[in-house]
Each structure stands twice: as structure tokens, then as C-alpha cells.
Symmetry: D2
Subunit: 204 residues, 4 copies
Amino acid sequence: MIHREFLRRATIRVLAAILLLVGSRTQAADPASSVTVLIAYHSVSGNTEKMAQGVAEGAKAVSGTKVIVKRVGDVATDDLLSSDAIIVGSPVYFGNMSGEVKTFFDNWLLKFAVFRDFKMRNKVGGAFATGASISNGKELTMLAILEAMLVNQMIIVGGGGAFGASATTGPDSPGIDEKELTAARELGKRVTEVAIMTKHGSPK
Amino acid sequence: MIHREFLRRATIRVLAAILLLVGSRTQAADPASSVTVLIAYHSVSGNTEKMAQGVAEGAKAVSGTKVIVKRVGDVATDDLLSSDAIIVGSPVYFGNMSGEVKTFFDNWLLKFAVFRDFKMRNKVGGAFATGASISNGKELTMLAILEAMLVNQMIIVGGGGAFGASATTGPDSPGIDEKELTAARELGKRVTEVAIMTKHGSPK
Amino acid sequence: MIHREFLRRATIRVLAAILLLVGSRTQAADPASSVTVLIAYHSVSGNTEKMAQGVAEGAKAVSGTKVIVKRVGDVATDDLLSSDAIIVGSPVYFGNMSGEVKTFFDNWLLKFAVFRDFKMRNKVGGAFATGASISNGKELTMLAILEAMLVNQMIIVGGGGAFGASATTGPDSPGIDEKELTAARELGKRVTEVAIMTKHGSPK
Amino acid sequence: MIHREFLRRATIRVLAAILLLVGSRTQAADPASSVTVLIAYHSVSGNTEKMAQGVAEGAKAVSGTKVIVKRVGDVATDDLLSSDAIIVGSPVYFGNMSGEVKTFFDNWLLKFAVFRDFKMRNKVGGAFATGASISNGKELTMLAILEAMLVNQMIIVGGGGAFGASATTGPDSPGIDEKELTAARELGKRVTEVAIMTKHGSPK
């Protein structure tokens, strides 16, 4: 019996090796190994939009990723359903996401109807935020986004920072600087890689 | 010099005693010792509205309190400015206040213009929330409300619960029961009493 | 060129099918497809310990899972490093995890040295909490645990509740009832399944 | 009757005016109008200690304030009971106060026994935090401190920032700079002023 078990395991290993060899050359192009990432944001001044572009660049840096970038008001039900990962960005309004972004999440129930039956379950989620001051709500905004995703049984990660990517945009540090853009790219890459892991398993 | 100081202090004490004696009979009716409390809420099913009524009862139980109860969409700038305390209530939508309540807070900047110059500074704030499940966002919703108030330099208290009054309204515990209504009343009373303290000092 | 590509893809599919066929019979027993789950908790009254046992049952219900249940004070560096998922439970002390559990997390830096180089990166994390009252800190405690995990670049999920499993243990609802134990089991099962997904990919 | 009411009110106003006139010159020296502020902190590198000193300076800037500055491990029961306001500071460890500070709060129940009967009720609370990165836990740490105070039915304010004073101390911004020290001072002043308001009423 040990002999037969040994044979079976050896067969698996050989086949796996062949499969890996043949398959490795197609990884980038093979749609089966790629993921779709939706980046949804609200931006008035353009700062959160710039961060969204950085997140998109990071996601695209992972070969084979399909990236959709939309304002929260333009997201359609199918954008949510067809994505493997969602990354949501908001300016900080009173220590929380803006009313626009909150209404976007409320629409997961009211308009998109993806909350019932947990249609977003197991999709990977991340967050980014821009705020005028250093410690006046960027953490809370990113966490509020992640918490809304947890309620939808999504899988959550940080990236570019413990809780996501953020930028200080007030008078002392106006606009999005290169370091903040790098954090945005890291977030996009990180969420995409985790989405690949949950879909296809971690690299062996 | 010590003698003069002694005399002056004695005068203060005598005058204070007379003042207290003459003034005490009017406490309830004297507008100077009362406060105005605004209760603003969003409600679809009627649950948060019932809690708002409980909060109002608790505030009115403090003699001389003027209470204004309004849906968040009906609040006017003057309601905010003329109040000594604000208590905001929301249903839990995705672990946070609803988009309607968030938009109400955003309007403190955009529409009511009370954020610039911190016009709400030193007013007392409290929160209440209703949610379907026990630990799926009622705490977070109350804290998100309190955090928005902290950004406005308000003074924050709990009441009826550590972070405010809350009610579980899902299938296992539908509607607002007497215990939850009691918590709502405690919140109203608590916030009103602290508003009196900050305005007139604590009872000697 | 299309022809060659077609052949290569066909080869992959045939090999994958053979691999699946040969491999499927060993899934439960094959250590390669199972995960190790560490459940670490602090308990004084025994309530959080009962929840830990429920979480363990849920994790074991997933075939092939190795489960380690330890008090936070007994966890060794290797327990952390050898686990694919960590589920941490705490009683609610002042709206947060207890000092014992907080010190356990601080030791990820100070004693276990797993924070530097992010040695816990990509492990899956979950949380559970027990508290006397309904809305006085169970959410905050679970989130504080998840946030500590995010700082370590772990992948976060809820289960048995939006933010994890929790139980109300005060005078109105003493001890752990069957419903709360069911939530604990769901959390154990959920975290284990996501750990399998991140390690081996989601079921095709 | 209107005549008698008019006379009584006139008497109150005249007496109040005299009282104000006589009393105003003693405000600074009169112990009745001053408050005691306890500043409790944990510090390893010295950064949080420097912030504590800034907070103390701000509190002392309010004439007549008695300020006690202690490490959390040195605080005695009477320090808590005799204070009108408590300001707690912590380094950020894993997105939360350090285990030392958490254990300090747990001792409000276990050792100091001030939680039962809510002996800290109506004392004013504030928070400060130091952390290596911009948005990796300073907000959460300040809020965790404020939340622990809310559980004790304290009255909460920010200062030097929406949720308290904070400093970024990592490689990009080592130590405590003048701007951060100014925020610390503002926090000390703010909490002290609110403690005077709750004790003696707001300035007329």
C-alpha cells in the first residue's frame, strides 16, 4: 500500500512539474490567471482622483490585470459583480468617507442589490483616502471603507500603509507628492496580488 | 493685605449666598439656566424615529430644556447655531451612519457653513443608532457620529450606553423595546445635563 | 502560431485533468492542501475560552486542518510562524482588547520579533470578543484585533458576524449560548476556508 | 406679580454684577475656580514624554491650574480621584495604545476601583499619541483612549487636532518638532478650559 501511495504521489509531482513548465510561459496572457480590479473613488479637488490613478498603475503593474477606474456615481452593478477586487477611495469629510462614497456603499443594498446573498463575498477589498491634516480622519476613513467591505463578507488587506494608501493634502503639504503616489501604487499592486492568491492560490 | 483679601472673599461668599437664595426659586423657569437640545435623525422603518422620541423625552425631563426634534433633511442652519447640544441618530448601514446622515454632516461645511470658524465649538454632542444585529455596526455608527462632532470641536458624551443609546431591531429583536427606550431617555437626559454643566457649571 | 498555442493549451488542460483526478483522492489527508490555524485567547471567567473552543470546532470541521488553541501567554514564536491563520479572542475591557491581549500583540515586535520583515504577511486573521453589554465595545475589540493584524500585513476576514464572532455575557445574557457558539464555529470555518483559498486558490 | 418677579430678577442681576466685579480680580488665585489636570503617559524613546511636557505647559498656561504629570505606572488612585481632567498619552503599538497604557486603563477596574460606581464620571478626558508613520494608528490610538474614557462616563474633547494631539516620529520626521509641541500645548489648554467650563460654567 505504501508502494502504491508512493507511486501516486510521484505521478502527481511529475505531472505538476510538466504542467508548471508548459503553463509558466502563458501566465501573463492566460485569462484564467488574471484578475479584474475595480477602483471607485470620489474626488472634488482632483487629489483623490490622482491617488486613484496611482492605485490603477500599481494594479496594472501585475501582468494580466484588467483595471476599471470609475467615479463612485458611475459604477454599475456589473462592475461590482465582475470584479475580483474593489479598491475604494474617498476624501476625508468629518473623519469619515464623504456622503457620496457612503451613498455608494448604501447602494450596494438599495440599488445594486449585491448585499443580499452576499454577492461580494470573497472579493478582495482595499481603501485609500486624502485629507487636509495628518491625523484628523484618514485612518478612520480607510477603516470605514474596509468595515463596509467586511459587512459584505469581503476579504480585506492594507497596502501602501497599514490600512491602505493615504495622502495629506492641506496647506502644509498640498497635492499628491511622489511618496504618496508610490503608496497608492503599492496599494494597487498589493490588492491585486492578494486577489490572485485567493483566486489561484499563493505562488508555490 | 491678608486682611483685605479676607474681606473681599467674605463679600463674595455672602453675595453668592444671597444670589443662590434669590435665584434658586427660578431655576426651572429662568431661561438663563436652561439649554436648547437639537435631536436630528434619519429613519426609514420608524425605529430610529422612536429612539429620537425617547431621547427627546429624556431631554425634556430636565426642567426648562427646549427640545427640537427634526429629520436630518429638515435641519436649518439656525437649528444648529441656536442649540447648546446636538444628538444625532442613524440606522446602521454597512457599519456606519447612513448616507443621509453623512450628507447632513457634510452640509455642516457645504450648506450650513458652521465648520469654518468652528461655530459648533463647545456645544455638547451625543449619538444613537439602530441596527439589525447585535455587534455589526451600532458601536461604529455612534462613534462615527461622535467623531464628526469632535472634528467640529464639540464636547462629547455617551449616555444610555458607553457611546450612546442603541437598539437591536433585526428579526431576533424587532422594533424598539422598553429597555432600549429607557437607554434613549437616559441619553437625552445625560447630554442635556452636561450641556447645562458646560454652560452654567456643575451643581455646587 | 495559433496552432502551436492551441496544442500547448490542450496539453495543459489534459495534464491538469489527470492531475486533478489523481490528486483529488488525497485532498483530506494530503498535508499540502491543509492549513494550520492558531487560536489565541485571554479568558478570566471562562467565557472567551468557551468561544475559543467553538472557533476551534469550526476550524476542525474543515477536513485536514491542524488547530492549535493556546492562551495568549502560552503562544511561542513558532506557533505564530507555523500557522497559516491566526484567530485572536479577548474579553472587552474598556471598549478594547484586554491588556493581556494587547501585550501579546506588542510581543509580536518585542519578544517574537515577527513584525520586522513582516513575517506574518499574508497569513489570514480573524477575531472574537466577549463583553457584558450589547454595544459597549465588542465591535471595537474585534476591530482593534483586526487592525493590529493589518499593521502586520495580514489578510483579514470576519465570520460569525461582520467583524468576527462575539458574545454578550452580562447579567441579561450570562454565559455563551448556542447561537453565540454557532457564530464562533462559523468564524473558525470561515477563516480556515479563506486560509485555504489564499494558499491553494479558490475551489474551481 | 409681574412687578415682584421684575424686582427679584433685578436683584439677581445687580448682585451678580457686584459678584462678578469683586470676584474677577481673584480668578487666578481662587482655588474654587481652578482645576486639577492629571497627565499620564507611557514613553520608551522619550517622544511621548516630550509631548506630555507640552500638554502640561498648555494646561499650566491656564491660570490657577494644578498639573500632575506621571508615567502610567506611577499613577495612584488618589491622582485619578482628585483630578478634574485626565489626559492620557501613548506611543502607537500596532494601531492602538501600548500594552502598558491598556493595562493602566484595566487597572481603573482591577486596582484603582474607580470604574464601579463610575467615580470618574463627568471628569474631562483628552488624548495624545506618537507614532512612526503618518496614518498607521495615531488616530486609532487617540480614539481608543477616548473610548476607554467614555466607558467611564467621562466628558471627551479633542485639542491640538480633531481627536487630540499627535506627533509623527519615524525616520522621515524624527522626534517632536515645534508644530507638534504646539499641538500638545493646545490640547493641554483645551482640556483644562473645558474642565473649568464643566465645573464652573462657561464664561458669561
